[in-house]
């Protein structure tokens, strides 16, 4: 769905999505990195289960919510990628972590 216009001058970064490694680049948002990597099923609508993707890219539509490093429901379009980040889809199951 997305592609990088040019490669970043910054570092190559590896982030993890659902336990799979994704190549990302310094200076981009988590949501952007995932969509550039071809990950399209980020979220489903709560009632119908229809697929959803980021719409506003600025933090008001809440379609980009993902669990990042154990913290659920982070707006991934606002968060820059960091080496080793662990990202998961919003789960309807939630774990023991407080």
């Amino acid at each position: 769905m997305l592609k990088r216009l040019r490669n970043s001058k910054g570092k190559n970064i590896t982030i993890w999505f659902e336990e799979k490694p994704i190549s990302a680049q310094e200076g981009e948002s988590v949501a952007s990195a995932l969509l550039c990597a071809g990950v399209e099923d980020l979220r489903t609508a709560p009632l119908s289960g229809a697929s959803r993707a980021p719409y506003c890219w600025m933090g008001v539509c809440f379609e980009c919510l993902l669990e990042i490093d154990g913290q659920p429901n982070r707006q991934s379009c606002l968060i820059p990628v960091q080496e080793g980040m662990r990202i998961r889809r919003p789960a309807l199951n939630f774990g023991e972590s407080a």
């Binding site: 719409y55 890219w57 008001v60």
Partner: protein
């Protein structure tokens, strides 16, 4: 971080940055909070990162964007206290607010508050707008700035307004494959804007820029369809095609990305929560906080600067930031009234200049009536709770006549976005169904949390 600041600024876009710089000059204590990871707001989004890590993109974005570099640099070098990644979720009556940062909720007090949270794209509820692949046009522009990314496949842009053309222009420069621009702007709008043209010529640079952008699109061989209607997005799991009517003919483009835009509207989440009085702005059909000429709201100690007060563009936002900070400095006793008034003159002049083009632009680009009240009943209005236009009409007919009743009956505004994406549409539908003006049906009451916070974070928050 101190316990209390003279001036607390929420938002590090042009208005917030300018206000901070001005305030620092007068030696009042300032703290700036922004939920983004760096300063710049949306118009200058990720300016520092783009400049250092994506210089070709930086060049492509042009002088309007690059203007932000100086602003951000001056802000940074002034050593003003700035907390990025800070999400304000609650405000108190006694001049304090709570924000979430790195998973911890903190409280900070202020003597004066400046709300500089800007605007958002007006939601464009067409059939299929929730399909992956449909996003805002200004959103695509922001994406290019924040992450250097562009749509990878075929694209169509649709809607109206200067930002639609700006986005189209930047994507053309980025060699994105744009199949068409579908303008909802009717020729009649040009006629109704004509009386405002002489005044607009005082800020002719905007008009020239608009013509340049259009020319660039034309030269790229991109067809422009004007006065389009019945725009719809279709696809199974994601966007596959865009349908529309043009001069009575049905047309279709098979694309993976549709960028839609019908202007921007003030983000009133924080001002609603603070209890500020709002007014309905008929010409552009949005709510905005009631402000005096210094940006003071109806709540003592709370001011608003920038597009969050009224949509007027980045340069007016910057000037209004200066004015709010001068006012704050005066109210706090740091400068005299005379000093304030004298220093304000430059900024009032800047505002007057850029304001000259606004009536023309607003008459030329009113919000598309098909977007205000979606003609098809199955169109989703509330994305979060999946409520359709038809369901809202039914609830109004059942007796839910204002927005708080509609919220209770339909669940609109109860999801994570808390009405950001649907309030205006719900108001327009409620108003039209009852033959009223939207200003008579109220707005969703501001309730915390402004941004999601976990129960655990709330339980552990600072008192």
């Amino acid at each position: 971080m101190k316990e209390i600041y003279d001036l607390l600024i929420i938002g590090a876009g042009p208005a917030g940055l300018a206000a901070a710089i001005e305030a620092a000059k007068h030696k009042i204590s300032v703290l700036v909070l922004d939920e983004q990871s760096e300063a710049g707001g949306q118009i200058y989004r990720s300016i520092r990162t783009t400049q250092s890590l994506r210089p070709e993109t930086y060049a492509l974005l042009g002088p309007d964007y690059q203007h932000g570099e100086n602003l951000e640099k001056t802000f940074r070098e002034a050593g003003i206290e700035f907390l990025a990644g800070a999400s304000v979720w609650q405000v108190e009556q006694d001049r304090a607010l709570h924000f979430l940062r790195n998973g911890i909720s903190q409280k900070v007090c202020y003597r004066r508050l400046l709300v500089a949270t800007g605007a958002l794209e007006r939601p464009v509820p067409i059939p299929g707008w929730t399909l992956p692949g449909v996003m805002g046009a200004a959103a695509a522009d922001v994406l290019l700035k924040s992450s250097g990314a562009v749509p990878s496949g075929k694209v169509v842009l649709a809607g109206s307004g200067p930002l639609l053309w700006l986005a189209a222009s930047r994507l053309v420069s980025a060699e994105v494959e744009i199949l068409a621009v579908l303008e909802s702007t009717k020729y009649a709008y040009y006629l109704q804007a004509l009386p405002y043209l002489p005044q607009a010529l005082r800020a002719a640079e905007y008009l020239l820029k608009g013509l340049r952008l259009k020319r660039q699109i034309r030269r790229a061989g991109i067809p422009v369809f004007s006065g389009i209607r019945q725009l719809r997005a279709e696809g199974a799991q994601k966007l596959e095609a865009v349908h529309f009517d043009h001069r009575g003919q049905s047309k279709i483009f098979e694309v993976e990305t549709l960028l839609i835009h019908e202007g921007i509207v003030p983000n009133t989440q924080l001002t609603r929560l603070l209890g500020c009085e709002h007014r309905w702005y008929e010409r552009q059909r949005y709510w905005h906080p009631l402000l005096d000429e210094w940006g003071n709201s109806s709540v003592d100690g709370v001011a608003v600067a920038g597009d969050g007060g009224i949509v007027a563009g980045a340069l007016i936002a910057e000037a209004s930031g200066h004015l709010s900070a001068l006012e704050a400095a005066f109210q706090l006793g740091a400068i005299s009234k005379d000093h304030r008034d004298k220093a304000a003159k430059t900024y009032r002049k800047i505002i007057r200049h850029h304001q000259a083009v606004r009536p023309f632009l607003e008459q030329l680009f009113p919000p598309n009536p098909e977007i205000l009240v979606p003609p098809e009943e199955n169109t989703l209005v509330c994305r979060c709770e999946e409520v359709t236009a038809g369901q809202i009409i039914k609830a109004v007919e059942l007796g839910a006549h204002d927005l708080s009743q509609l919220k209770a009956f339909t669940r609109c505004g109860m999801g994570p976005c808390q009405g950001r994406m649907c309030t205006l549409t719900v108001a327009e539908i409620a108003a039209k169904t009852q033959g009223k003006s939207p200003k008579e049906v109220g707005s969703f009451r501001g309730r915390p949390p402004l941004k999601p916070i976990t129960l655990g974070q709330l339980a552990n928050s600072t008192e």
